[in-house]
């Protein structure tokens, strides 16, 4: 289908200094866990977006020197010529698709812990990081300033050699240039501190020097945060940012505008729980009004109507996306081809970001199981090979996230017939009720996307209201049976803190409840005072606390961990979720676990109290968010009672299971699991994942031997 002409503006070229971008789709710098040291993973990951129509794609933050070493996290690096070689692969692939390549040159100052390089980072003032632990910078004198500026210039030259078309002098997220601009970081009294002109001096000079060095054939981008949300000391739009735009607009080719500092950068990478798309448009618009240069910016844009309104409304020139480009690298192409139905919209859950926060394992995405798998598993999000065993019929039991994904991919792989059979009256499984938790409405996109795709697939049939037992499965007529029956919350308080049940915990009682009893089964939470036992540590406990508090309950949430909902630190949801709970008057009890639950009372102890003093909370109801368990009864019946040999007699050649039915994990993991099985349904043993390419240095034996020989010779010669 042709593109709607109203979207034409998104496909108009735009000049960025000496370069021209073919359209208005820009992949903002974002991490993926690959850096410069997994160059093929990096190149295949970025170029998937170029193949999907992006006009330019950027590296993640790209360190300019060993002094800006973010280990344990994974950044790109342009420290030396070997980094140039590695990142040149990404540039070459992007250019092959007609996209520009951008490098986000980064110096972290105190936020770079330098755990690999053991260097000392330099900063405007000697104050330890508000983001990292125990990282003290060296306070820069003027020689230091010159030295660091030279690092930017040298790195910019290396970037150009690698093939990058755009280089950043990156300040946002409280990195060095913006530290100089911001009184919170800059306490100097020399000509690099104090007045606006002084605070702007470092950044201005650095941009000038980079411009002089590479600007004649490379576009210069500046990424600036226009509000750190920390009041007077933080960066301020009117006081700092707009004057800075006016100061350097002539030497900047493109502005990349966002908000937040680093310690709460969830204000930039906003979870859908708290902010809608386009939340930074007011700041982007403010810069656009002052600047003569193109302005780009993110805002979790998944909807092309919002994109054109941002451009037509003069708020942005270029639509930058991070998370929407992970969820759907083919977003521009789908808009171009009028396939809006096929867009896999980002749900704003931030599990992608969680990986960087954890320390840099490969990026994952709830919506797009192929994210990060482009090189190592060779997965393409839109192109599927016909399965070698496509003449098989498949029965998928359970239409939750894993079952839907698996049935959809099997359909796309051309299996003869796929029947997705569900006991409930519609698709979705747990995703029918999780999006009804406060703020999680956009998570419903998981179901919407798959439902639309499944409905389009001629070889996939969905059947609701069918609870199949083992006997019905045996005689169903499928050669391949896939069990995706999900999981459930423990009703007896079994938990990972004590590895035991909680005495007295029993969700069959009217005043003890599990999450699905409340959300899916309509079980009423009795009385006023509710205690939530949260040993899970992600969104469920705090979401229920919020919901019940909003319904007027007096809520206590108790975790054995040092703070509540630990995984939400990684998804950047913690600060605002905690603010919400405080505002709602929810009592947060950490480092405690319940020892006994009885009618009207929960007994608990502090985790470090060796004498185990009994503390009592008076309650009317208890919600058990202790752990989940696999709903594996059907699988066990098929495997253990009926037996695979019996199934074989009826023509069932294989029985697999996927998702929470195997182990209840992140929604992203369940979807990955369903996807993985469908991708490998024609492998020799689909139950076991095929090995993936591990991008690593394998030693050259001859070279290694020479080094060992040299070492041994030195010992024999008595030199050592």
């Amino acid at each position: 289908m042709a593109r709607d002409p109203k979207y034409d503006i998104l496909f108009e070229p735009i000049k960025l200094g000496p370069k021209t971008m073919k359209n208005r789709f820009y992949q903002i710098p974002h991490c993926n866990g690959f850096g410069s040291e997994k160059p093929l993973s990096q190149a295949f990951f970025r170029s998937m977006k170029a193949e999907g129509g992006y006009g330019a794609c950027c590296t993640e933050y790209c360190s300019i020197s060993p002094e800006s070493d973010d280990t344990h996290r994974v950044s790109a690096r342009l420290w030396d010529d070997d980094d140039v070689t590695n990142l040149s692969v990404m540039c070459e692939m992007l250019h092959g698709y007609g996209a520009l390549a951008a490098a986000e040159l980064w110096y972290g100052g105190p936020h770079a812990p330098c755990m690999e390089s053991r260097c000392v980072p330099r900063a405007p003032s000697q104050i330890p990081s508000d983001f990292e632990h125990l990282t003290y910078p060296k306070q820069m004198d003027k020689d230091d300033i010159r030295a660091v500026q030279k690092m930017y210039v040298d790195a910019a030259k290396r970037a150009r050699t690698a093939g990058f078309d755009i280089v950043y002098v990156y300040g946002s997220h409280s990195y060095l240039p913006q530290q100089f601009l911001t009184p919170y970081y800059n306490k100097r009294t020399d000509e690099y501190g104090g007045s606006f002109v002084n605070r702007a001096r470092f950044w201005r000079e650095t941009i000038e020097q980079v411009k002089d060095a590479v600007g004649h054939d490379t576009a210069i981008a500046v990424r600036m945060s226009c509000d750190m949300f920390m009041g007077e000391p933080g960066t301020q739009l009117e006081r700092d940012c707009l004057p800075f735009v006016e100061l350097v607009d002539d030497i900047v080719d493109v502005w990349d505008i966002n908000v937040s500092g680093i310690s709460e950068w969830g204000e930039d990478a906003t979870p859908s729980r708290f902010y809608p798309s386009g939340r930074m448009l007011p700041w982007q618009h403010a810069v656009k009004k002052v600047s003569k240069k193109p302005v780009l910016g993110v805002g979790r844009f998944t909807n092309p109507d919002l994109m054109i309104s941002a451009i037509n409304g003069g708020q942005l020139d270029i639509i930058a996306t991070c998370r929407p480009s992970i969820a759907d690298p083919w977003l521009p192409r789908k808009i171009d081809e009028g396939r809006l139905d096929d867009i896999r919209e980002c749900i704003g859950c931030n599990v992608c970001i969680s990986r960087w926060e954890i320390g840099g394992p490969p990026v994952i995405c709830t919506q797009n199981a192929t994210a990060g798998e482009e090189y190592r598993r060779g997965w393409h999000p839109e192109i599927f090979t016909k399965a070698k065993n496509a003449d098989n019929d498949v029965l998928v039991i359970g239409a939750g996230p894993a079952g839907m994904e698996c049935a959809m991919i099997l359909g796309k792989r051309g299996m003869r017939r796929v029947h997705l059979v569900e006991a409930d009256d519609d698709m979705g499984g747990i995703m029918r009720w999780i999006p009804q938790l406060p703020g999680l409405g956009e998570w419903g996109r998981i179901v919407n996307y798959r439902k639309i795709q499944i409905n389009k697939l001629k070889n996939v049939e969905f059947h609701a209201n069918q609870r199949l037992d083992a006997n019905a499965i045996k005689t169903y007529g499928a050669e391949i049976v896939i069990v995706a029956t999900g999981g459930y919350w423990a009703t007896d308080g079994l938990n990972g803190a004590t590895h035991d049940v909680i005495a007295g915990a029993d969700a069959s009682l009217s005043w003890q409840l599990t999450p699905e009893q409340i959300m899916a089964e309509g079980k009423k939470v009795p009385g006023k005072k509710v205690l939530i036992v949260d040993n899970d540590g992600y969104f469920m406990g705090v979401s229920l606390a919020e919901k019940l508090a909003m319904e007027g309950k007096k809520v206590t949430i108790m975790s054995h961990q040092a703070h509540i909902a630990k995984y939400m630190d990684f998804t950047l949801e913690s600060p605002n979720q905690n603010r919400k709970l405080h505002k709602l008057g929810v009592e947060i009890v950490v480092e405690h676990y319940p020892t006994k639950i009885e009618q009207g009372k929960v007994h608990a102890v502090h985790v470090f109290d060796e004498e185990a003093h009994d503390k009592v909370w008076e309650v009317d109801a208890v919600v058990l968010v202790t752990q989940r368990r696999s709903n594996e009864a059907l699988y066990r019946e098929l495997k253990d009672k009926v037996g695979f040999s019996e199934l074989k007699k009826e023509g069932v050649n294989a029985v697999y299971r996927i998702g929470d039915c195997v182990a209840p994990r992140l929604i992203a993991d369940a979807i990955f699991d369903g996807h993985r099985l469908a991708r490998e349904i024609d492998s020799p043993n689909p139950e076991e994942p095929l090995p993936y390419k591990r991008e690593r240095r394998v030693i050259n034996m001859a070279g290694a031997k020479a080094e060992i020989d040299e070492h041994m010779a030195a010992i024999h010669a008595g030199v050592r």
Binding site: D393, L395, R417, H419, E461, H463, T475, Y476, G477, A478
Partner: protein, 250 residues
């Protein structure tokens, strides 16, 4: 005891439609096919009668080309006992009824069920025409059916505005079945596989008369005009809308 169900393989168009060069039909690249939804309900109703009475032969009949056997196979997979195809290229309802009658009459059925209409051409007249050709009484738009397997059936017809017309009809009769009368069962993979191997009786189409109509042109109608753009601030627009609504409600 025999129940004949007349079914059709309907064409399903997606969001996008292109027409053939002669402008007489939708380009087959843009078409999918399915058992007509109303007919699926009719088959389900026949199967339920069979289950209720403990015996009955359910025979699915269609008029069409080889491709239309897909509809019959779906009926067989659902549980029909036999299937008959009248080999015919007819498309208009009267000729279709004529073709169907040639296969239905020799069966001497105790009951004939059709769907109210087909989702692709939406004429709603094949069942009625068929009853005329078979010389049987007919009841249209049936939402509920009570029948002991012989003698008169009590039939609920759906009327405008949620009204129900309860009639008694002697059998054999032709009933056209409305959706919502039941939830058609689905076929397991095994039933689909078995249905693929079942034989379908082929009947030669009777020499037909002239079709009741012919297609002269198929096209996407131009976008309607008459939209009225309201100007002003939100409160001005709101009062203009209120005026229009009041005017139309008169």
């Amino acid at each position: 005891m025999k129940i004949v169900v007349c079914v059709k393989l309907v064409k399903v168009v997606g969001d996008e439609v292109e027409f053939t060069a002669d402008g007489l039909d939708v380009d087959s690249d843009y078409l999918e096919h399915a058992l007509n939804e109303w007919d699926a309900c009719a088959v389900e109703e026949a199967l339920r009668i069979r289950e209720r009475l403990g015996q009955a032969e359910v025979i699915a009949v269609t008029a069409g080309d080889k491709k239309s056997e897909e509809a019959l196979r779906r009926c067989l997979a659902m549980g029909a006992d036999r299937a008959v195809r009248v080999d015919s290229a007819v498309t208009d309802p009267i000729s279709t009824a004529n073709a169907l009658a040639s296969a239905v009459a020799p069966e001497s059925p105790d009951l004939v069920l059709c769907g109210v209409q087909s989702s692709d051409s939406v004429q709603g007249s094949t069942g009625t025409a068929l009853s005329e050709l078979l010389g049987l009484p007919r009841v249209a738009v049936v939402k509920k059916l009570e029948w002991s397997g012989a003698g008169p059936a009590t039939v609920h017809r759906e009327l405008e505005g949620g009204l129900v017309d309860v009639v008694e009809v002697d059998t054999p009769a032709v009933l056209t079945i409305q959706t919502g009368i039941n939830q058609p069962r689905y076929a397991t993979l095994r039933a689909i596989k078995l249905a693929e191997q079942q034989e379908i009786t082929l009947v030669t189409a009777p020499a037909g008369g002239d079709p009741a109509y012919r297609v002269r042109r198929m096209f996407t109608p131009p976008k309607g005009e008459g939209a009225q753009m309201l100007k002003g601030n939100p409160s001005e627009i709101a009062s203009q809308i209120a005026v229009i609504i009041k005017e139309r409600l008169k």
